[in-house]
């Protein structure tokens, strides 16, 4: 009998090239390396300085997302909308990919989009793979039972040069979400509640596995939303064991295995689950039935309340500082706050089901006067599919802006920003000070809550709009 193992331990063991010792970390093989324009230029410079090639360009997936404008781009001039530095960075990425023999899914490819949206939609993200990217939300890909985590630029260089990373084996944390989600409560609400419970550093040093009936009942896009925000709880990776929902999503996708390869892959994927007797270093239990739509009130994703609950009190100076920045009051619910901007998009909630969720609430209604709403598809494919379904027309008819694919207002580096003091209800992942622009105040929420808030002109409960 072999020792019972967790999902993480199975994937980890399958990728150990050289085992770790007290003196040295493990050498771990990387199956898929996703790269974008912001965290790679210095890594390519290093390769150039040392005269090194990219060892496995066939295992690199390259695109443009962070510093690209979400207005149409057909020339260098169009790129300048995001600023001169951003435009140069995009050009540099195109040059680097050409020079090192990497296929770039760039403008006009029909495949460009946010790194964590295109990996899954192309079928490149698969169960049991190790996946890294110079972006902390790489945890998204764990929704497929992959071990996926964000790395820095030095490590991007390591993977480009050797296809491997030096890693210490992390601990494991089981997050069990059992029961059924009430109507109007989404995956985004689940993960915000989880982070509220464990805290923004609760997962530090751990890989999370999300388990339980409420997780199994989610579709793949909802599972991606959950795993995406693992890093906001301090965990570098979050995983969900693959099942028929996963396999059905992947079958027939551009880069998924086909024919006999598919059958072999499927047999292997079916062994990727935590054995019954496997033990986790820690575990947390959450009752899905008790959850409500969640919104953040502070300046990190752990500062979160139910939509109808009062903002809590706190005496810690960091807590007070956060409330001062947000201009919210203890004892009042977040619905007391007027909204200036609403953003639907990002690697957390920029997929077709997210846009659909927002459109269902927007249909036949109008965005409140004075509110600016941006709906930004996560990829060119999501955009095309949304337009084929007529969702763009619903968005525009409601008075919101329908944009080109990109990271957009998730982070203020591509021209899409909120102004100082403005309150933005956002489906992205970080409500840090200044994240969406200097002085901008971010309230994280689901696409449904964001759309309801756009209509109400204040932070609003989506359950009143279905």
């Amino acid at each position: 009998m072999s020792t019972p193992r967790t999902l993480f331990e199975k994937v980890w063991a399958d990728h150990v090239v050289v085992a770790e010792t007290d003196d040295t970390p493990a050498v771990i093989y990387i199956d898929l390396h996703i790269i974008h324009e912001v965290t790679t230029p210095q890594a390519f410079s290093l390769l150039r300085e040392q005269g090194l090639p990219v060892r496995r360009p066939d295992l690199v997936l390259a695109t443009l997302d962070h510093s690209t404008p979400t207005t149409p781009v057909s020339s260098f001039k169009d790129l300048l909308v995001a600023g001169e530095g951003a435009a140069r960075q995009v050009r540099q990425m195109e040059q680097n990919c050409r020079e090192f023999g990497i296929e770039l899914l760039g403008f006009g490819s029909g495949r460009r989009g946010i790194v964590h949206v295109i990996g899954p939609e192309l079928g490149a993200t698969q169960p049991g793979k190790t996946i890294v990217c110079g972006d902390s939300h790489t945890s998204t890909h764990g929704a497929f039972g992959a071990l996926a985590f964000g790395i820095g630029t030095t490590e991007v260089g390591h993977v480009l040069a050797t296809q491997c990373l030096l890693q210490r084996k992390p601990k494991t944390l089981a997050v069990n979400v059992d029961g059924s989600l009430p109507a109007g409560v989404t995956a985004k609400d689940v993960i915000l509640a989880v982070i509220g419970r464990i805290g923004v550093d609760g997962g530090t040093g751990h890989v999370i596995e999300y388990r339980g009936g409420a997780i199994r009942a989610l579709d793949m896009e909802a599972r991606m939303t959950i795993c995406n925000m693992s890093i906001e709880g301090g965990a570098r990776a979050g995983m969900i064991a693959p099942d028929d929902v996963t396999f059905e999503y992947l079958e027939g996708r551009e880069r998924a295995p086909r024919g006999a390869d598919w059958d072999m892959a499927l047999a292997r994927w079916r062994s990727l689950f935590s054995d019954d007797a496997a033990t986790f270093d820690r575990s947390v239990d959450i009752d899905a039935a008790s959850l409500v739509p969640m919104v953040t009130f502070g300046t990190n994703p752990g500062m979160v309340v139910g939509i109808d609950e009062p903002v809590p009190a706190g005496s810690d100076p960091s807590f007070r500082k956060a409330l001062d920045y947000m201009q919210v009051e203890t004892g009042k619910p977040m619905s007391a706050n007027a909204v200036d901007v609403v953003f639907v998009g990002s690697c957390t909630n920029g997929r077709i089901s997210d846009i659909e969720e927002a459109a269902r609430i927007l249909e036949g209604r109008k965005v409140a006067p004075g509110v600016r709403m941006l709906v930004v598809p996560g990829s060119e494919q999501v955009k095309a599919e949304a337009e084929a379904r007529g969702l763009d027309r619903i968005v525009v008819a409601a008075g919101a802006e329908w944009r080109e694919a990109g990271c957009s207002m998730c982070l203020g580096m591509n021209g899409d920003i909120a102004q100082p003091g403005q309150l933005c209800v956002s489906t992205s992942n970080r409500n840090f000070e200044g994240r969406q622009g200097i002085g901008a105040r971010t309230v994280l929420a689901s696409p449904a809550t964001a759309a309801a808030s756009a209509i109400a002109g204040r932070v609003a409960d989506p359950r009143e709009y279905v």
Binding site: V27, G85, G157, H158, V200, D201
Partner: protein
């Protein structure tokens, strides 16, 4: 990378907890394609107001912070984004070490790979450091000890391999490249190919 064996400095204290890498290095400065010159941008929106004037109440703008190369930070420093521009900026600004009771994983990895000594001490020592800004401390990287002004010496957490690389001034890519035979063998014998 230059070897780092010993750091002696007064401390500067930023007690706020959960300071994220967006605070350390705002996203709008990530459009650079170089790792140089980011010291001017570090903590930019905490250091300067909307008009570009220094915020007098921010700790790094106080005269006593000048020349301090050890930053004592609140718990969970460096959380959020994986941007390596954060440790690049801290180093370029003049910091050689960051001490906290907890550091975010990716930040700590990035820092150590660039020679920024990112270390974790016990809660009691951390509380003492937070309460005593400007303390003269000595970080002995080789022996993983921190000496406080009263000659009290405490041990700190630092991965053995990271310590070796700091002390030797070795970059980790060289170590990985020496594993290339094993990597090629792994690619040949693994039962499935990505």
């Amino acid at each position: 990378m230059k070897p780092v064996t010993r750091i002696a400095s007064k401390t500067v204290v930023l007690a706020t907890r959960d300071v994220d890498t967006d605070q350390i290095m705002p996203a709008r400065f990530l459009t650079t394609t170089s790792r140089e010159g980011l010291g001017d941008k570090v903590f930019f929106d905490l250091r300067f107001d909307g008009a570009g004037a220094p915020r007098k109440d921010f700790v790094l703008n106080r005269p006593e912070a000048a020349g301090c190369s050890v930053l004592v930070a609140g718990r969970n420093f460096g959380c959020g984004s994986s941007r390596e521009h954060a440790p690049w900026g801290l180093l370029d600004y003049g910091f050689e070490a960051v001490i906290s009771s907890e550091l975010a994983d990716i930040f700590r990895n990035n820092a150590l790979k660039n020679g920024l000594v990112a270390i974790v001490v016990d809660e009691e020592t951390h509380d003492w450091l937070l309460d005593n800004p400007g303390a003269d401390v000595v970080i002995d990287v080789e022996n993983t000890t921190l000496t406080l002004p009263d000659e009290r010496t405490v041990e700190f957490e630092l991965d053995g391999f990271a310590r070796y690389c700091l002390v030797e001034g070795t970059d980790q890519l060289g170590f990985l490249q020496r594993q290339l035979d094993a990597i090629e063998r792994f690619e040949e014998i693994r039962p499935w190919k990505p």
